[in-house]
């Protein structure tokens, strides 16, 4: 596994309210986009990202660490741990937001992936996104918890109308707003050659899917891809903070046995 990450304030904002934290020793990657006045957005995203990493690291040392919230059925222990970490982060940001008036209303989005034993746990809250490039196919793995995305899913407006809507920045879920949060959880296989991108909306509002997929497919490595994505978003206007984490699984050459197998595949009767 190799990764590259970069965050930038952009060309319009004065503060960077995005945060990212990684725990490469356990293949855990977290990105958060904060909101709230008087620099509280920065605090919210940093608290969220750090809390998630801390909870997962602690659980790796001590698997019997209590889960925050009820376990979800039909997913791995790793996925349940990741969801637990996000619920814990929600509690921490919510507590901080209610400490004093200057922090009132602060919150954050989060996207996180945790890769273990060939399986990738994918979790998110809000409108930061996770994408995957696999064998030339570019796919969004998360569904935004935003007002316009929900309208598109319900068939009320088109994708184009969503991109032009003045309601784009209205979220339906975020960390820190309420005492409890519902975490969207999914699992995917991690295959040789897969490239996974975690990003804040500062990237996806500036660049098209085609541009992003192009950079992921053409870059030499994950670090270069993350740098180029952030540079391109800034060149396109840099209207918001922009953050990208790119994760690449190392591509293996197809071995002799695998090649042989692909010839015989389907001829079940032979064996």
């Amino acid at each position: 596994m190799q990764f590259g990450a970069r965050t930038d304030t952009g060309r319009v904002r004065e503060n960077n309210e995005d945060s990212y934290r990684v725990a490469p020793e356990i293949n855990l990657f977290v990105l958060s986009d904060g909101m709230g006045g008087q620099a509280s957005g920065e605090v919210a995203s940093r608290l969220a990202a750090e809390a998630i990493i801390a909870h997962c690291r602690e659980a790796t040392e001590n698997p019997s660490l209590a889960l925050a919230g009820a376990p979800v059925e039909g997913v791995s222990d790793t996925s349940n741990r990741l969801a637990s970490a996000i619920r814990e982060a929600n509690r921490i940001v919510h507590d901080e937001a209610n400490k004093d008036d200057t922090r009132h209303g602060m919150g954050a989005t989060v996207v996180a992936v945790w890769i273990a034993e060939g399986r990738m746990s994918v979790a998110h809250v809000g409108d930061s996104r996770i994408y995957r490039l696999r064998a030339g196919e570019f796919e969004q793995l998360t569904q935004d918890h935003s007002f316009v995305a929900e309208q598109v899913r319900r068939g009320l407006i088109t994708e184009q109308e969503a991109r032009e809507s003045k309601m784009q920045s209205v979220l339906l879920r975020a960390l820190g707003i309420e005492p409890e949060v519902e975490v969207a959880l999914d699992e995917q296989l991690m295959m040789d050659g897969d490239v996974v991108l975690l990003c804040s909306d500062g990237l996806t509002r500036e660049l098209s899917d085609e541009q992003i997929a192009g950079v992921l497919g053409e870059s030499k490595n994950a670090k270069e891809a993350a740098d180029r994505l952030v540079d391109l978003a800034n060149q396109a206007g840099g209207g918001d903070n922009v953050t990208a984490i790119v994760i690449g699984s190392t591509r293996k050459k197809m071995g002799f046995l695998a090649r042989l197998a692909s010839w015989f595949e389907g001829s079940e009767d032979l064996f």
């Binding site: 059925e73 399986r119 109308e161 784009q168 920045s169 309420e178 389907g266 079940e268």
Partner: protein, 244 residues
């Protein structure tokens, strides 16, 4: 806000909010309400708001537009009116849904900058919003198969079971330790394909080390499964069915 409910016989096909934006009706796919039927003109009619009244205008369509049995050119709509176009009916209902949530919103208000400060709907607002969109969303999305158990039945090939209940978010087909559908045989791929359950409880099959086919068509993208679909990959043939 008024809403329009499109029905064919007794089946609700679609519901849309009217008034905040013009609802165009016709066979062409760029209409808001698309009715795919030869008896409907490409651009058949429209429903729009004028001075606080909800109006229906027929665009001189070949087969006409009828409100409560009368052929009309331009007419004001009232709650409970039934618009007949071909064999389809559109009923007008008044609902409590707020204008502030409708796409487009108030056109007299100036548009804010493209990237505004992010805000989150609080609990009450969000609950009201979700109730609204649930009321006007496509009813067809709530699959009748909701209370049935999704199952993979093995028709051909060597696997460790003949049937698999799809209880998990991720179901892997292959030789890997991760696999639910375990393939047997020396030359089988570790992970041939994957099936994902999405948040709306629909199931998608997608490629992994191999490109599976669904009903004979190779699929490069994750593809939604319907009951009775046949999945073929790495020498096995599986049927996806909803069991009672």
């Amino acid at each position: 806000m008024p809403k329009l409910v499109l029905k064919f016989k007794e089946t609700v096909l679609k519901e849309v909010i009217a008034g905040a934006r013009e609802v165009s009706i016709g066979r062409s796919p760029d209409n808001v309400l698309v009715i795919d039927n030869p008896a409907i003109s490409n651009y058949h009619a429209r429903v729009f708001a004028e001075e606080g009244r909800l109006m229906l205008e027929d665009f001189g369509s070949l087969n006409g537009t009828f409100v409560n049995g009368q052929r009309v050119k331009m007419v004001e709509l009232k709650e409970g009116d039934s618009i007949a176009i071909g064999k389809h009916t559109i009923t007008v209902w008044q609902s409590e849904e707020g204008a502030e949530f409708v796409a487009g919103g108030d056109p007299s208000r100036p548009a804010p900058p493209k990237i505004a400060e992010t805000v989150v709907l609080d609990t009450k607002e969000r609950r009201e919003f979700l109730q609204k969109v649930a009321a006007v969303g496509e009813s067809a999305q709530i699959a009748p198969s909701r209370f049935k158990v999704p199952t993979l039945v093995v028709h051909k090939g060597k696997t460790d079971q003949r049937e698999y209940l799809l209880n998990n978010k991720l179901t892997v087909i292959g030789k890997s330790a991760l696999a639910t559908v375990k393939l047997k045989g020396w030359f089988k791929p570790k992970v041939a394909a994957q099936i994902n359950r999405r948040d709306d409880n629909s199931y998608y099959v997608g490629p992994a080390d191999r490109v599976p086919s669904v009903n004979g068509q190779p699929i490069a993208h994750p593809t939604k499964l319907s009951s009775g679909d046949i999945i073929e990959v790495a020498g096995v043939r599986l049927e996806f069915v909803y069991r009672n």
